[in-house]
Symmetry: C2
Subunit: 218 residues, 2 copies
Amino acid sequence: MFSLAEENYLKAIYHLEHENQGEVSTNAIAERMDTKPSSVTDMVQKLAEKDLLSYKKYKGTLLTPSGRKIAANVIRKHRLWEVFLVEKLNFHWDEVHVIAEQLEHIQSDELIARLDKFLGSPDFDPHGDPIPDKHGNVKRTEKKLLSECEKNQRGVCVGVKESSGEFLQYLDKRKISIGTKIKVLGKEFFDGSMIIQVGSDQFFISQKIAENLYVQTN
Amino acid sequence: MFSLAEENYLKAIYHLEHENQGEVSTNAIAERMDTKPSSVTDMVQKLAEKDLLSYKKYKGTLLTPSGRKIAANVIRKHRLWEVFLVEKLNFHWDEVHVIAEQLEHIQSDELIARLDKFLGSPDFDPHGDPIPDKHGNVKRTEKKLLSECEKNQRGVCVGVKESSGEFLQYLDKRKISIGTKIKVLGKEFFDGSMIIQVGSDQFFISQKIAENLYVQTN
DNA sequence: AAATATTTTTACCCTTGTCTAAAAATTAAG
DNA sequence: CTTAATTTTTAGACAAGGGTAAAAATATTT
Ligand SMILES: [Mn+2]
Ligand SMILES: [Mn+2]
Ligand SMILES: [Mn+2]
Ligand SMILES: [Mn+2]
């Protein structure tokens, strides 16, 4: 139905809308997609023709309901495949994203319906991100960044903001994964660094780490 | 590494080489790929540049060892995914081919290695076709067409030649699948039709059916 | 309010893979 | 051994998607 390139644009715009709360600029899309602004303009005009997004010259774009639905479905497929790769093929969570970038474009509603069932209809992917349902609706949970927590607060790791291999590998080394309980033992206001407890280990983390870990506090 | 189009050409040529035992003509490729001979000429010249096949103007093509290896790997992926779809997602054997046509182009050796293991390293796909190993080698079994069998011979269904939805659905209706035991009760020389026994059922089949069913006789 | 800087668009070119129409080579008939 | 039919290749064109360089619009300073 839609080309690989079109799906990737819609997905990128979907994510940017949620990150920046509002219109998405041409340059932001170009940067996210690692392409040139002129290419983005072309594609955005094409997608506007197809009523997948609204576009006014020089003003940026917003997905239409149908554009948003398609984007959410690509994301649904991406995250379901990530679950498959980790749960069934025993991939490590830092290895699955690039493969899912390919698998997310396989077109077959029946395949996704069966894959979902096979995986037990998971609500979250291996990185803690919610999996949209087949209508494109997402359960948004109230989570916050570890960096927003105060001293002595406890939380459960529910996701990562950044998901580069380096970061995920760091988390592994520290034995932090989805579901891990974390307690803030100390917080330095000058640089935002923290001392935290994970299981029986206590260690120092920089603000950069704390700003990329989502936790759910109780 | 190679584009979707390139992989599809190599795969088609691989199959045609095996069917026609020898050089593959431009028109044969065009027909198989549902494209025009002029397009084939272009692509074949490009693939020859890359040493994936040997090509002499007006003479047809033959895969080189590296071209054959790539083709076999695409076929390996296709058939492994077919096994996955049938064994794990409970698809019916007549539904999996079109989906596998997409999945066969996913690029990740690690993915295929793990998928293979997850499936128990199967030797055959749901249609009875052999799955090439990771080096591109295929176990060719001695099978023959049911139409070549004589009266009173017994055999086990090991594959299908044609694999259209219509044919596979016909086989289902007759309760014939891979592993089914078949006995030839009678054979009409005039039109090649047969009466066969499958389980406790006995029925008539046309030559067209008998020519598209592979059996292994003992 | 100008002048500058930044962002976005336009105009034009490139590559991949496809098609149509015409030319060339090969094969089949007479 | 010519002529006719068939197959294959070449010569353009085109659509998708992406890139460069320059023009136009918008945003930011002075
Ligand atoms: Mn991902
Ligand atoms: Mn993810
Ligand atoms: Mn198949
Ligand atoms: Mn098959």
